[in-house]
Amino acid sequence: MPMVNLSLIILVLPLISFLFQIFFGKRLEHKKGEWISIALVLTTLLLAIIMFAQMLFDYQPDFRQEASINWVNLGQFQIEMGVLVDNITIIMLVVVALISSLVHLYSVEYMKNDVRYSRYFGFLGIFTFSMYGITIANNLFMIYCFWELVGLSSYLLIGHWWEKKSAADAGKKAFIVNRIGDIGMFMGMMVVATVAGTFNYQVLFERIASGAWAAGVQGLFGGVDPNTLLTWAGVLIFMGAIGKSAQFPLHVWLPDAMEGPTPVSALIHAATMVAAGVYLTVRIFPLLTPDAMAFVALIGGFTAFFAATIAITQNDLKKVLAYSTVSQLGYMIMALGTGAYVAGFFHLVTHAMFKALLFLASGSVIHMMHHSLTKLNDHHTDAQDMRNMGGLRSKMPITYAVFFIASLSISGIPLFSGFLSKDAILAGTWSYAAHIHDGWLAQAHLGWILPFFGFGAALITAFYMFRLIFMTFHGEPKRKDIFAKMHESPKLMTIPLMVLGALSTFIFFTLPSFNPLGGKSWFQTLVKQPETVVPMGAFDSEGFAHGLHLAHYPAMYTSLIVAGVGIGLAVLIYILKEIDPAKMAQRLGILYRGSLNKWYMDEIYLNGIIRPFLKGCDAIAYFDMEIYDHYVIDGVGRRVKALATGTGIADDLVVDGAVNLVGIIFQWLGWTFKFVQTGKIQNYLIYVLIGVLMVYLINVF
């Protein structure tokens, strides 16, 4: 069976799960239906692993299968529906299928007492379906369709507990903020479609490379520089990624999205959907010009640093992880912007594993907190607040162990997966800063800002992750009553944690070499950086690769030192209590308050954009309702009504009179002829036959 067929089956199975849960889920005997969804998604995992194994057997960096059908045929311009399977697709399919399967399993226990249990699984199904769709799409239009489907399912799942106002609001916020990014993406797609006349990646890249793009720009816009337009197209499409991957300034929805169930956060808002933006950037990577890449890198780098500074001061367990996710996504985007393509996609994969693990493990803690709070009949204490935890290490050993592994991984400690990818990204920024002279960022001599962001974020990441661990699992329990009722989560929740914990170590990513510092792994062999297709002023990828070689070791040592400093600070503050965090906060003053309040981004949006906008709407509405409707529309209405009354009188007398006359005539005729009717069809049939015979006879004689 070709890979394309397999990927189509993978695509369809979660949709079946969705339809099944929506139409039949509730009718099943109490909570048995989830196993059908789980079976379907595990089947997709199995198929994805088959594809993955096939890929490893073949070991072809250039492996590529594509099939498509025409969907919309508009003469010259055609929109196709198609499937593109290459190594990136397969790796992404495995990641999505794996995380989705584990979250399905985990949710059985986590959502056990939920009222909309079957709906929840149905929505997981449609999310998985649309994520697969994004993964296997071979053109921008199709990816856009599934992009919006993903947004929809994210909205549905964030608002799963819509009785809570905050959850409903968070869903709406996520939806609207994402739309802003998607408008940019749509505009970018339209630019591409107008100039290049296709949505298909491959065809598009070929047309750009062959100069058809430049010719198209010349024909359509005359004096515009084709490279500038290409930069704009890339940046606009990248806007979609800004929204979906929660990059500054559209990052505000992701922390609020934590109102959804925790497994959802793990699946959608940490591992897969937010990575879709990165995946999109990976897909369009060849058409990014150096200028566009500088923009991408700057956005990513700033987001990485900015979100990390917020994460330091948050007290809500999931909020910390949410900002950490934003920060790590910034890393990936930054890596792509600096040209470290493989490193960016690599970080996507490793991050999916350890961040899903972090969320699921925090879900385990929160679940148990809820559990004991319910037993204590306490409905006011916040189950997610770290200030109520502490010392959980002894009560939840498995959760603690995997949490620790994931934290080491995200902090970039050797022997763990995060080290490999993060180190590659940092080396990439170093190389970019040192060796690249294209793009406005380098020309403005601001190249070194990226390593600064990168290493700064790495320091802060190590610090806040260990702050999180120390506050939650170490020290004295802050609430003895809650602590007494805590215990380890059930098997169905810990098994996914252990699987992901194993996958957060280096070994799965460095094979076939066992070098914990990297080496020539299958990943670096199979994921090949595509040739850039920008015809003039292309990114200097050879210089970059050379720089990467030089920067490898310095960047590694720096990042190790930086991570060590971060962890050490956390130990000093929260274990040894050498520094009092409250005093630190007071001394830092405005910086601390800014970080605690997320640098006032929500307030800036509220007062700077939303309120003025609403005021403007009110004014326009006033004009529309009070002035335009009242005088223009109603005025015309009154005159027409008067006219109609006059016409009506004429109609009644003249026209109806004629019609009634005709009616009376035929009434009389009918009354006259009704005596022919006997009511017996067979009589009529004989009349008809006699008539036919007479016609025949008349014709003959």
Binding site: M1, N5, I9, A67, I69
Partner: protein
């Protein structure tokens, strides 16, 4: 076959004075007589087998007195039936009462015209053979209704109406499940359907275990289609557990209540002829007809595996229950297996003529039917209709689509050009 037979007769010295037309007529008559003899013997044998099988299933002996092991019991019964007084009830309709059984027998008899017994051995090689057999078996219902009505007895009438409703309903799952196989092979000619199942391939075309290319192993969907066909066909020939038209406890004997003697024997003949048609059709469409599963080396390997499995099953399940029976069959099978392992050529030799293979396969299916009869309780009328319309029909429809999807997946057909 008839033309070949006729020309053979013309070449034969003593008959060469016959013209072409008389020879053809003679050949036709001979084939018809042969089939009739087959139908009659079939009923005799199957009645005996049914009694014996039921006896073994109920752990008793069955007929033992007449002839060795009771083999002549059915002959004696047939003689008794022939000598019985011919009774027609006074208020029955005399013409229809007489004609009804003959229509039933004729319908089940004519169905054999398209059944291939061996390569080339088919009375009439029709391009629409499968459709013909299915359609002819639906004529039986008219005869049943005719007899039931003519008896002028409410049990007969109820039995006839139930039977009509049942046969008409179950024709649809039968047709759909056969259609699944036809969709794969692309012809209605029974000979071609069998020829398409030659050789040995992978199980379900995917799992690398050597299995014959029979359609029941072609895909999971065709396996399901085979199961549906067997269930629905059991219902179409009115056998237990679907024998509500003649259920003794409710309707005395259904549409045959008023019949006795020779006409009753006709009903019996046709019942077993129908069972034989169903069994042969199952063997042809799903089990490879007269194809031997051991026709080549791969097939021989399949044979070894299956024989080993059979021997294991026999050892595990049967040995502990009926000790006496276990020694000889298991010895034979084990010996065969060993020989087959040692000398593959012997296993190939097992590829005996088609007539034997189709008889074995048909026999297995008939045994299945008897097994059903003596294990399952009878369904109620509403359950019967429920099973047909709400269970078998939807499954068969989805299954048909599944076959198409499977063909697409395995690359037999393609949607995108």
């Amino acid at each position: 076959m008839i033309d070949a037979f006729a020309s053979w007769m013309l070449q034969f010295g003593a008959l060469s004075w016959l013209g072409t037309t008389p020879a053809t007529i003679l050949a036709m008559s001979l084939v018809a007589v042969a089939i009739f003899i087959f139908v009659a013997l079939n009923a005799l044998v199957l009645v005996y087998v049914e009694r014996k099988v039921s006896a073994f299933m109920q752990v008793r002996l069955g007929p033992m007195r007449v002839g060795p092991m009771g083999t002549l019991q059915t002959v004696a019964d047939a003689l008794k039936l022939l000598l019985k007084e011919d009774i027609i009830p006074r208020f029955a309709d005399p013409i229809l009462f007489r004609v009804g059984p003959w229509i039933i027998l004729l319908a089940s008899f004519v169905a054999f015209a398209a059944v291939p017994f061996s390569p080339g051995w088919v009375p009439a090689d029709m391009s629409i053979g499968l459709f013909y057999v299915v359609s002819i078996s639906s004529v039986v219902v008219i005869g049943i209704v005719m007899s039931g009505w003519a008896s002028n007895n409410k049990w007969s009438l109820y039995g006839a109406m139930r039977s009509a409703a049942q046969i008409v309903s179950y024709e649809i799952p039968v047709g759909l499940s056969l259609l699944a196989a036809v969709a794969v092979v692309g012809t209605l000619n029974l000979q071609e359907i069998i020829a398409a199942q030659a050789g040995v391939g992978n199980l379900f075309h995917w799992i690398p275990i050597p299995f014959p290319n029979w359609y029941i192993f072609h895909s999971p969907f065709l396996f399901l289609a085979g199961c549906i066909y067997l269930i629905a066909a059991t219902a179409e020939v009115n056998r237990t557990p679907f024998d509500i038209p003649e259920s003794e406890s409710e309707l005395v004997a259904g549409f045959m209540t008023e019949y006795s003697g020779i006409r009753w024997a006709l009903f019996f003949l046709s019942e077993y002829a129908n069972a034989a048609v169903v069994a042969l059709l199952t063997a042809i469409v799903f089990l490879g007809g007269w194809q031997s599963p051991f026709a080549d080396l791969a097939g021989a390997r399949f044979g070894m595996i299956s024989l080993t499995v059979l021997a294991l099953i026999w050892t595990i399940f049967v040995k502990y229950k009926v000790k006496r029976l276990s020694i000889y069959p298991i010895g034979t099978i084990l010996a065969l297996t060993v020989i087959a392992w040692l000398f593959p050529a012997f296993a190939i030799w097992l590829a005996t003529p088609g007539l034997v293979w189709i008889a074995i396969k048909g026999g297995v299916v008939i045994f299945l039917l008897m097994w059903f009869r003596w294990t399952f309780p009878r369904l109620r009328v509403d359950q019967l209709m429920y099973l047909s319309w709400k269970v078998l029909l939807p499954i068969a429809l989805i299954n048909l689509a599944g076959v198409a999807v499977w063909m697409w997946l395995t690359g037999a057909i393609s949607l995108v050009g």
